[in-house]
Symmetry: C2
């Protein structure tokens, strides 16, 4: 078969593929990750690239503007390679997988240690768990065994277990692979060993190493989100967090949301690819953080993972097919402890991986983790927790009951599925004010030149656009406004937040009407889910004592502006509390406290879940919420007053 050489600029990554390969597949093979919301189905038109040279066939340019066609843009997944090619990948088409280079590691570590990391800080609510006794999922124990003699010659295994029992008061399980090496190990280490014991199920020995000197034991907490994956390196002996790292989920290449990915999983090698993408993310985060903090991979003994039900299926290599077929049943909600290496995770080969239990297809371990870390499940006040992610997860309850649901918010607030979206990283616009002459005043992360808009930026932007009159209640941009920042391009109205010259990228940073539609659906999905949950339990919004806002970007949201656009209900602001990435915090808690692990199982058992996708009440609420702030403006009386800008 004829081979074709493809060069991807500007990085210059090269690959050889068979004649007839599609260009998206070629890009993935070259390690060039393009955004692709539809998973390579030719639907979303996001994987745009510019062909500089070469022979190719391009199926359809329906999703390209005249300008783009002139500039030789093609949709990669619809383009067939017919010969050697040179391809330019525009910034906007790239999935941004940030990666620390080794030389940056020390700098990064310094930043994290000094608290200046870009990552969201720990959930506040988690602070209330400080009284828990440290009882980590794995523990390393130094054991000095008395040597056998004729008066004490029990078997090596019994000797080890006897001494462990003396120290710990229990006898862990010891499996055959350890017994096999025990005789030589004990004698070559002069009867001094370090034993790692896992407390996931029955206490079990997971590793035996020689030596009795310094003991270092680390774990990772992970939140596996549909759009982002966050990992946290934890010192298990001290109970402290060394650093946190967030990356876009590499599975984005195969589709934006869980449904697209489940469909992709059903294709040839689909599940394998999705699993490998998640494992690669996890390995990158582990490598970066252990590298930055000088932790040996062999001292990482456990991973605690929280994520939605589909993400967990993909991570555990479980076929997720039936999640998307009525009546939407997952393979399992409680997943057993596995060896991390069996999931392709490169740490100590004896390390284990555990996950927080979920409740249903749409209420996963991430919600369990959120409820766990927020702590409201053991308190009297009725509390609402809202996790603004691609699946907007919502739980409501107190110590007596919990009801939960998941709203398909889409990834707009996480920076994908919108033209200039990005994650909350350097250069992301995180706040906006629009002046009366429609000029935006931007606040970017680290004050860098703007590179895109992150979730909090979109919330502020929509609020300001509505307040200033740049757009109307239905989300239409008012093109009659007299400013160069409002324009029509390829028949679609857009508002320019930063012209190419003002930005840190090679194009104008804009918000299009189609973006507004996306964001409107996202905010509407979350708001209406909150309303339906309340109605289901016959409560009014005023009955809620507290609203916890969770999510990787939660700390940067301006509540006033979120209420202003109708994302969050209009209740006294002091009832709101940001708790950061509560899924990650819950995973970390499970890593550190036995009580939390028991609580997580209890939460998953007791939580009632509500299926919104099939609920008429939800459909009605959702349609009513597709306005700024809402059809029923009376509900938002205390929110932003609309001011008129000049024409």
């Amino acid at each position: 078969m004829k081979k074709c050489k493809i060069v991807f600029k500007p990085e210059g990554k090269k690959v050889e593929v068979a004649h007839g390969t599609d260009l998206l597949t070629a890009a993935i093979s070259a390690g060039v990750y393009l955004t692709s919301n539809c998973g390579g189905e030719g639907v979303c038109g996001r994987c745009k690239v510019i062909v500089k040279k070469g022979k190719y066939a391009f199926e359809s340019n329906a999703r390209l503007s005249d300008d783009e066609i002139k500039k030789k843009y093609v949709i990669a997944c619809l383009t067939t390679v017919m010969g050697d090619m040179e391809v330019f990948v525009p910034q906007a088409s790239k999935l941004h997988f940030e990666r620390l280079k080794n030389k940056d590691a020390a700098k990064f570590a310094k930043k994290v240690l000094s608290g200046k990391t870009e990552e969201a800080p720990e959930g506040k609510a988690a602070g209330s768990k400080k009284n828990l006794k440290l009882s980590s999922l794995t523990r390393k124990i130094g054991i000095n065994l008395p040597q056998p003699d004729l008066n004490d010659k029990i078997s090596d295994a019994d000797r080890l277990l006897r001494e462990i029992n003396k120290v710990c008061g229990f006898t862990p399980v010891l499996e055959i692979s350890h017994i096999r090496k025990l005789g030589r190990l004990l004698r070559s280490s002069d009867w001094a060993v370090i034993v790692t014991i896992a407390f996931a199920d029955t206490p079990e020995i997971t590793n035996i190493e020689p030596g009795n000197s310094s003991i270092r034991n680390f774990g990772f907490a992970f939140d596996i989100g549909t759009t982002t994956i966050s990992g946290q390196l934890v010192d298990l002996d001290k109970g402290t967090v060394l650093g946190t790292r967030t990356l876009y989920n590499k599975q984005l290449t195969f589709g934006d949301d869980v449904i697209t990915r489940i469909i992709f999983a059903g294709e040839k090698n689909g599940l394998k690819k999705l699993h490998a993408a998640a494992a690669e993310n996890i390995n990158t985060i582990i490598e970066d953080l252990t590298g930055a903090f000088g932790v040996s991979l062999s001292d990482v003994t456990v991973l605690s993972v929280a994520g939605n039900t589909t993400m967990m299926h993909l991570l555990y290599k479980i076929d997720p097919e039936y999640i998307r077929r009525e009546p939407y049943t997952p393979a399992a909600n409680f997943l057993p402890t596995v060896k991390a290496k069996d999931l392709g995770i490169e740490i100590n080969p004896r390390a284990i991986l555990v996950s927080l239990p979920g409740v249903s297809t749409y209420v996963g371990g991430d919600i369990t983790a959120g409820v766990l870390s927020s702590g409201f499940y053991s308190e009297k006040p009725v509390t609402l927790i809202v996790d603004i992610g691609t699946n907007g997860e919502i739980a409501l309850g107190n110590e007596e009951w919990i009801i939960a649901a998941s709203a398909s918010a889409g990834p707009a607030f996480e920076g994908t599925g919108v033209a200039c979206g990005m994650r909350a990283a350097t250069g992301a616009i995180e706040d906006v004010t629009i002046s009366p002459d429609f000029e935006p005043v931007l606040k970017t992360i680290k004050g860098a030149k703007p590179r895109g808009i992150c979730g909090s930026g979109y919330i502020a932007l929509l609020g300001e656009m509505f307040r200033s009159g740049v757009m109307d209640r239905s989300g239409k941009i008012d093109i009659s406004r007299k400013t160069k920042r409002i324009r029509k391009k390829d028949g679609e109205a857009e508002y320019v937040i930063a012209f190419k010259e003002e930005s840190g990228v090679e194009y104008d940073i804009v918000i299009k009407e189609s973006d507004i539609d996306n964001l409107k659906r996202s905010k509407g999905a979350i708001y209406s889910a909150i309303m339906v949950l309340l109605k289901k339990v016959g409560m009014d919004i005023s009955a809620i004592s507290r609203i916890y806002i969770a999510g990787g970007f939660g700390n940067f949201i301006d509540i006033d502006k979120a209420v202003c656009i109708g994302l969050l209900p209009d209740i006294p602001r002091q009832k709101y509390l940001f708790i950061g990435n509560s899924s990650l915090a819950g995973a970390r808690e499970a890593l550190l406290y036995e009580r939390s692990r028991a609580d997580a199982a209890e939460i998953a058992r007791k939580m009632t879940y509500m299926e919104l996708s099939l609920d008429n009440m939800y459909s009605d609420e959702y349609v009513a919420s597709l306005f700024f702030p809402h059809t029923d403006i009376a509900k938002f009386s205390g929110s932003c007053g609309k001011k008129e800008g000049r024409k």
Copy 2:
């Protein structure tokens, strides 16, 4: 490197080996198994072969008779291959690994079913357990699951576990590999599955198959002896035995006793070879019995194994090195449940293997199994159990206490380590009477032409030789007796039991003085171990209510003759009871009854073990027992009166 072709006659097996290979290794490579008591160390001189043609170097002929040297005999392990060779393997040098051919299978099955098998019948004592409720180690359960709908859409795993709980009243563990295939399996099998649950530790699902029709579930019980390996195919639903099969342990090629094998295990690939030999035996027995009874390998879900501590180390691939080094500690006595396939056993890949726990290096799971199957551990009368094997295992006690020891009897009574020994198979001499003119009257198994002497035959023979005056108290053959059957050969006296013409083999069947020495040490080791155990608990032989004789050949022993030679104590014959292969019976009990599994663990915990090898009292007893019947003849007043034969 130069390759040399070796042909082994009479079978004509061929192999190519490197120039410089020793002939024993070459034989093993060709699948020709020679006896080798020393493990190829050039010590025992058992691996004798005749070189017909070819170039070779032979190190030393110290172990060969003049006649043998003339006939071009060499010791295979001391012979270096220097070119192509043709080698003849005499019958006496062959290890007899009996193997059913496929065409023999039906015949074999018929024999077994009609009770005409050569194997020893079940232990009698085991009959007392008939009141136990069948509760096999693995159980297959047919489950018809209700299909999920919108009102019942718990996860597939929860659904399966819920339905199992309805049927069984408990929830078994379900591991990730099953969860991975569950979604498709349940739907493709129309929600009807057969679940295999193992009850070794916490109940755990070991297999899920589609279908709900006929359920067949089989297990194997195994006794892994130093010299012989016995396996028994058991129908787990009916609790019945289909058939039993015994083979010589292929590890015999690497040495006769446990110490030789432990030393061999320390050599390059030694442990691997020893393990592979045991696994091959097990696979052969499984293949033969399942083939004979039309049982599918995929319906064999569990193996229950009993064996001495060294045999268990070798089977589980555990380095046995420290067993033979002071203070003689095994790696483990309680071994965890493993997947049989991980030990190279070819059945259903999901089948498990469990073993009966041991107590110490010299008191293994075979003794636990013996005590278990004999049942005396829950009864009032003080009982002695004697297992006459290569390790003569002895336990003494009742419902309150048990004390056990193991005597290094050697394999003489199992037919190796003696010139014309064989296992109790067709043609084995199992009983002998010697007439006043010193002519032997033989009884062979199946009345076939004699091929060798089995354990019961040796016991009878020694008794008769002593009674008739063929040998004296010290085991010396009286060459002054006037008969052609007593002669000297290569300077050693021997008694001819069957001349070549009378026998089914191509040589005279004899007992040499060196054989008598071996047998004397064997019987002395067992008798003195019994005496020491009694002394340790301050009891006289008369305090024993019952003596259970265990061992594969136990049913054929003439107690009078065994007492006559000083193998067993001289107490009223009605106190003796044969219980067959009690180790195999114990393994089978553990396979079938939950109560027996719990009892086995309890027996292993409560049994006190006595280390005989370092005990002065034992040394004294042993030396005193190296006579026929004993130094202290008064102890054997009721035994065979010595009659004079004619000179």
